[in-house]
Symmetry: C2
Subunit: 105 residues, 2 copies
DNA sequence: TTATCATATGAATGCTTGTTCATATGAGTA
DNA sequence: TACTCATATGAACAAGCATTCATATGATAA
């Protein structure tokens, strides 16, 4: 188990895990990042394609991709000159779907 | 339906809905707010009880409760001198559970 | 009414963070 | 090698935001 025993803590969750949770949701809290994730819903894309798709410049997208990757929400592989990004797992779509459920109620 | 037709937009979602989504997840992106939500998992509480539970001062908690309420994640009712807060619906727990799944993987 | 408890709110402050600009790195090609 | 395309990165700036402090509002009790 990655986290400490949950003793004497809010709702049975330790401070460290709480901060990690907040950091995770922080990734979904910016519209540029959500756009990037959304644009990967229909399959992997290289950086240029993502830029074009969401209409943002390369540097901004690259910075955000770095954050998304460090949060393990996307993964990447190099293919020649380009780098191809894709969703890391299906939690991403599930979390966003839950969010949509809420705001569409 | 609350949102416009999804035409020619990223992954079939309109800009407005995207911003709302980001705003929703922003609510989960702060550890104080997650603590508050967590502390409501086992039932409604008044403000003082929440403060005590998460060890934060009344003003900070009140400010965050206001945000959580405006995002419809919590609801409140007055009972005499106190105001009692509770989770607005079960999306909250589901979303947080998904987040935990991800970071605990 | 006055006093007190519980909660809300406005302003100020300091920290965080997304974007931009310039530049660097990495890979392919001639 | 030199040149170009694709991506990454560092620094700087501006905007956003969580907390604190002081104060206001709302409700009960005396």
């Amino acid at each position: 188990m990655a986290y400490k025993d949950n003793k004497g803590l809010i709702g049975g969750i330790c401070e460290e895990e709480l901060l990690d949770l907040a950091d995770l949701f922080k990734m979904f809290s910016d519209s540029t990042r959500i756009k990037i994730l959304y644009s990967l819903f229909d399959g992997e894309k290289n950086v240029s394609e993502i830029c074009e798709n969401i209409d943002m410049n390369q540097s901004a997208v690259s910075h955000q991709l770095k954050l998304l990757k460090s949060s393990k929400l996307v993964k990447s592989r190099r293919e020649g000159k380009t780098v191809i990004y894709s969703l890391a797992d299906d939690h991403v779509e599930t979390i966003i779907a839950m969010g949509k459920d809420h705001i569409e109620e």
